[in-house]
């Protein structure tokens, strides 16, 4: 508990993240990841690359995510990435990122703009065939894209053959959870 004594609630409105097992599919709300955006300022690409490299922060190419110890990142737009770090140590992630990039990049806190769900199952393809147009079986591990699930713009990251992370708009966390839940029940 932080000094300020304000209790945090998860995107689904709980004190603790929600988990569900539906057949072989498990869905886990993640509440322990800080998220920030990093966008290269004009003419500062080299500085951004240097800063990232010094900090051990990956800056993957378009359509990709890279996973590291402290920092992970995925590409979201030309010259823009979303960067993940442990919430406990990096709650004020923007401050950390500004230290790394200085004025070479525009940095914005994104942690609570999104709800994160981690999905895992031996075969996630039938589930995702009901959710979005991403061709999951041919997507390599480390594939990252934006897609639409139940009208909601989401980021999808394939972390492993049997593991996918979704970031959806936080205010619609309940709707997104429901969409995943009914799709999972429909395919098991």
């Amino acid at each position: 508990m932080a000094e300020h004594g304000l209790h945090a609630v998860t995107a689904l409105g709980g004190a603790a993240p929600r988990m569900a097992e539906i057949g072989p599919i498990s869905i886990t709300e993640r509440f322990d990841v800080a998220l920030g955006s990093v966008a290269t300022r004009r003419g500062r690409a080299a500085d951004v690359v240097r800063g990232a490299s010094d900090a051990g922060l990956p800056l993957p190419p378009p359509g990709k995510a890279e996973f590291g110890g402290q920092w992970s990142a995925f590409w979201v737009a030309p010259e823009m990435w979303f960067v993940e770090a442990p919430f406990a140590s990096h709650e004020d992630i923007a401050a950390h990122l500004r230290t790394i990039f200085g004025d070479a990049a525009s940095v914005t806190e994104q942690t609570d703009a999104w709800v994160r769900f981690d999905l895992s199952a031996p075969d996630l393809h039938p589930l995702f065939a009901r959710l979005c147009n991403v061709d999951l079986p041919v997507a390599p591990v480390g594939f990252a894209t934006r897609t639409v699930i139940d009208h909601l713009g989401c980021y999808l990251i394939k972390r492993a053959a049997d593991q996918v992370t979704l970031y959806g708009p936080r205010s619609s966390a309940q709707s997104l959870w429901h969409a995943i839940d009914v799709a999972a029940r429909s395919v098991i």
Binding site: G5, L6, V9, F31, Q110, P169
Partner: protein, 983 residues
């Protein structure tokens, strides 16, 4: 009733007996039966009544082209009308009933229409129900709807779910007959990703319906073996019960999978149907062909069916259509039915072959040069009259007649992108034309290759061509031997000479007479023929009838069939349930819901919510004892202006704008200037569209030298972000600007009222005195001993007000803390209604005024448009019609008698002026009740309104019957000098 017409053989599982009912009567069936095959096996031929004449009808076909045997399935909320009995799988307990009849299928009172048929010919409605116009809606339409029609809806909510999904493949194969199976084997063995979709529940197509061999197996066994091999390949997805509805663009196909239609109800959690969006690199249409009838008098009686259908019922389903049958054909394929039925022990009384000369079938009475001229039997066929080659008429007692007029390749999907089918004189049929959907090739009968051998060959060849285009060409396997008979057919469309009606389009009851009438009235083009007679406009899209109609018209005009032309087909290939198109997006799940950070708390307090876009916002928050919404809203307004009120404003769009050119960028997108805004300050911004109209407004704060945060209206958050990206990428690509939405990242509350600062001082860690944090200040702060937050001293309500933002996960805690600390000030939470009251009292514009047709000048904000810099909309805001001094201006309005009502949408009229458009002076945009002024007040756009302050006019709404004398006043009803918000 026993299965009196069940015969040996077929692909039904006789080890299991299913019970089903039709019109309340119970019957037996076996797994593998369709409703039509099971009814035929039970000796039931009468399955429906026709659309217009209520003629008794039985199945014409054995597939999805069926025009006649339309039935209602199930009962209660699951009742489904207009299903084709020919494709419905029987399950144990299935309840089916006939439709479009009253009181019963055997005795239908509306069959009087059949006697009155001369009144009901083509164009009848157009000619008869022309006038009086007022009769159409109240008299004619209800009568027509009752008399002519299909089944009826349950009018209950569909209890089942429908899914949507997305599939990807290298090759989509549409149809699993010999061509489709061979194509799938060829591509599947080569390792590419294949989807094989077929509307039937059993793959194999005509192979299941014929008796000839493929290689050393029966056709059906070869098909079963092919399906088994395909099922074993991990790169092949078999999709039976799946109809490809049509091609979208660039290899996308739409398909509906009937996941649970063959079950009494879906299994828990499972959908009834799934609508698939299939992304394919290439596609092969192997959709086969559809047989067509011949038009002759009374050719629509139950018991008369297509020849291919009759032998399909016998060969695949072990159901004979009758005990004594005849065959009427103009081609060799029809002869197969006679041979197959005879081999099943059915008495084949005669084959009436319209062709002169040629070989005769051995052991069967085969009449050459003969035609069927009429039939008998009210509820089912009892006999036919034929005319032999020598002109002699003869009557035969038969209970079933097989008719073959030739086969039409199923070109439907090739023509969905407007490619015109081409006439093939050898086949006497339309075949796929040039320019079909890109990436689609055609194999087998759909391409006009009518033999089994030809289907196998073209299926393989087209698959090889696809493999080559994908760079995956492999050595083809040897093809099995199969029948390779040529098509031998002579044209016969219509047996002329009789006086009675000869049906062309059985579903829409279009006869040869109707085509003749269309010709007489000069509706000779195929497009006119279709619309005048409704030929091909039923749910079957004229799959069996169209070519017949075109050929009859060609005969009348003396043109050839290619000169006459053809209409084309449209998606969907077969009718699709609205539920499948809606998917899960219905009822409360029609669209996603967005919840505010204070939602949990507000719900606990019993808040009334309102949908604002997808957001649920607190509309008002009733207290015990309050019985009307006005009591709650008035209290919230008064308490806020008296002490302090809190409102969740998270829904407003927030966009982070950074970069060394961020200020210059904002100068372009806002009509007023932002590059000069000091760090730590905010400013109201007015955003124009390029046409000079106001697009959006909001407050933008400068948090650092190269960092701004823009606020948009709730409704425009997404469009404004899109617009900013457009301006950044397309108009000013040199600028160093980075954009990201932060709407949901921050929980933001407005804290407004004379005690707003006192309340916030209990939470904020920094000095926020007027000197330290003056009006329009903005900045990073911390709250409650260290939580990072943002504070903006801005006001929509006109009070001393702040907006405070914390990371969203703390938004719930913050509202609770604010209310806890606010107790000392009698703090209230106010909803969108109170917000609306307070902003109207202050004359602030919102959605009703930002209507996309209003300029800055209209809103009284003309001075905000800087002429000294380039900004979107600046130039065209000066054009003619936008700057007239007597144009609309925002005014305040109050009724002269405070007790009188006014309503939004009312128009301004001078006292005594008639309520006509010429006297229209403008309109009231927003109306609220002000508890401070104890009357309704309004904002409105009034012509030359700024020159009419103090005038009396009328607010007139002819719809709500309001005509109230009003006074035109300044839009700033309260605190016009703004002393409160600077307090």
């Amino acid at each position: 009733m026993t299965q009196s017409h069940r015969i040996a053989g077929g692909q039904i599982d006789r080890s299991t007996t299913l019970r089903f009912s039709f019109d309340g009567q119970s019957f037996a069936a076996h797994p593998g039966d369709t409703l039509a095959s099971a009814l035929l096996a039970n000796g039931v031929r009468l399955m429906g009544r026709s659309f217009k004449y209520h003629r008794p009808r039985g199945p014409l076909s054995a597939g999805s082209e069926e025009p006649n045997a339309l039935v209602e399935l199930r009962t209660g909320a699951r009742r489904e009308p207009n299903t084709r009995a020919t494709v419905v799988e029987v399950f144990d307990g299935l309840q089916a009933s006939s439709q479009n009849r009253w009181p019963s299928l055997r005795f239908d009172a509306m069959a009087i229409n059949d006697r009155l048929n001369s009144f009901f010919t083509a164009g009848f409605y157009y000619k008869t129900f022309m006038w009086p116009a007022s009769f159409w809606e109240k008299v004619y339409e209800p009568i027509i709807r009752r008399a002519a029609g299909l089944g009826s809806l349950s009018r209950e909510e569909d209890p089942d779910e429908y899914d949507k999904g997305f599939l990807h493949c290298d090759l989509l194969i549409i149809g699993a007959g010999p061509a489709g199976l061979m194509a799938a084997l060829t591509a599947g063995r080569a390792g590419v990703r294949v989807i094989l979709a077929d509307e039937d529940f059993r793959m194999g197509g005509r192979l299941n319906a014929e008796t000839h061999a493929v290689g050393d197996q029966t056709a059906a066994s070869w098909a079963a073996a092919a399906v088994a091999e395909l099922a074993s390949l991990p790169n092949v997805r078999l999709m039976p019960r799946t109809t490809v509805l049509g091609p979208m663009d660039h290899g996308i196909y739409s398909a509906v999978e009937r996941v649970s239609d063959h079950l009494p109800e879906p299994l828990p959690g499972k959908p009834r149907q799934t609508l698939w969006r299939i992304y394919s690199a290439r596609a092969i249409l192997a959709g086969g062909a559809t047989e067509r009838p011949i038009a002759f008098e009374n050719n629509d009686r139950p018991g008369i069916m297509l020849a291919g259908a009759m032998r399909a019922y016998a060969n695949r389903w072990g159901a004979k259509a009758g005990d004594r049958i005849a065959v009427f054909t103009n081609n060799d394929d029809g002869l197969r039915t006679a041979v197959d039925m005879a081999s099943k022990g059915v008495d084949v009384v005669a084959v009436i072959d319209s062709r002169e000369g040629g070989d005769l079938l051995p052991g069967i009475r085969h009449l050459r040069g003969a035609v069927v001229t009429d039939t008998a039997g009210r509820l089912g066929l009892t006999g036919i009259t034929l005319r032999q080659a020598n002109g002699r008429a003869e009557t035969l007692q038969v209970d079933a007649l097989a008719v073959s007029g030739g086969w039409n390749p199923n070109v439907n999907i090739t023509s969905h992108h407007r490619s015109k089918p081409r006439w093939d004189e050898g086949l006497l049929a339309f075949v796929p034309g040039e320019g079909g959907p890109s990436g689609l090739s055609v194999a087998g009968a759909a391409a006009g290759v009518m033999s089994t051998q030809g289907a196998l060959h073209t299926g393989q060849a087209q698959a090889l061509a696809v493999l080559e285009s994908l760079g995956r060409l492999t050595k083809p396997a040897d093809l099995p031997q199969a029948e390779d008979a040529p098509v031998r057919i002579s044209p016969l469309w219509h047996v002329a000479g009789g006086k009675g009606r000869a049906w062309i389009d059985q579903q829409n009851d279009v006869t040869v007479k109707d085509v003749v009438l269309a010709h007489q009235e000069n509706f000779t083009s195929v497009e006119h023929l279709k619309r005048y007679t409704t030929l091909g406009m039923a749910t079957d899209q004229g799959k069996t009838g169209n070519v017949l109609g075109i050929a009859v018209m060609a005969g009348l005009t003396g043109q050839t069939i290619p000169e006459t032309g053809t209409t084309i087909y449209r998606p969907p290939y077969t009718p699709v349930a609205m539920g499948a198109l809606a998917g899960r997006s219905r009822g409360p799940e029609f669209k996603p819901v967005r919840l505010t950070p204070s939602h949990l708390w507000a719900k606990e307090q019993g808040a009334v919510f309102v949908e604002v876009g997808n957001w649920l916002r607190t509309q008002w928050l009733p207290k015990p004892g309050e019985t009307t919404w006005r009591q709650s809203v008035d209290r919230e307004v008064l308490a806020t202006r008296r002490s302090v009120g809190i409102c969740d404003v998270t829904t407003l769009g927030k966009i982070d704008i950074q970069g060394t050119d961020a200020g210059a960028f904002l100068d372009r997108v806002y009509a007023n200037t932002f590059s000069t805004l000091p760090v730590g300050k905010c400013r109201y911004g007015l955003m124009l569209r390029e046409d000079g109209m106001v697009m959006d407004d909001g407050t933008t704060a400068r948090l650092g030298p190269h960092e701004y945060v823009m606020t948009t209206t709730t409704a425009n958050a997404v469009p404004v972000f899109r617009h900013l990206e457009y301006v950044r990428q397309c108009l000013f690509p040199d600028m160093d600007v980075q954009l990201i939405s932060t709407t949901e990242a921050w929980a933001q509350y407005s804290v407004a009222g004379p005690n707003a600062r006192k309340l916030l001082e209990k939470l904020v860690d920094q000095d926020i005195s007027d000197a330290a944090f003056p009006y329009m200040a903005a900045g990073h702060i911390t709250v409650c001993g260290g939580l990072r937050a943002r504070l903006f001293r801005i006001s929509f309500s006109g009070e001393l007000a702040y907006e405070i933002a914390v990371p969203t996960r703390y938004g719930d805690a913050l509202i609770r803390r604010l209310m806890q600390e606010g107790a000392a000030f009698d703090a209230v939470v106010y909803g969108t209604e109170a917000l609306g009251v307070m902003r109207v009292e202050k004359g602030h514009v919102a959605g009703n005024e930002l209507n996309g047709q209003s300029t800055a000048l209209n809103m009284g904000l003309g001075k905000m448009v800087s002429r000294k810099k380039d900004s979107i909309g600046m130039v065209l805001s000066q054009r003619d019609g936008m700057t007239e001094p007597d144009g609309y201006r925002l005014v305040g309005v109050k009724p002269v008698d405070p007790a009188r009502a006014i309503s939004a949408g009312s128009h301004f009229l001078e006292i005594g002026a008639a309520p006509v458009a010429a006297n229209d002076g403008g309109w009231l945009t927003s109306v609220v009740y002000s508890p401070h002024l104890n009357s309704q007040i309004a904002l409105g756009y009034l012509k030359a309104g700024d020159q009419k302050i103090g005038r009396r006019m009328r607010a007139v709404n002819l719809l709500t019957k309001v005509d109230t004398e009003v006074e035109i006043v300044s839009p700033h009803f309260l605190d016009p000098m703004g002393e409160r918000l600077r307090g």
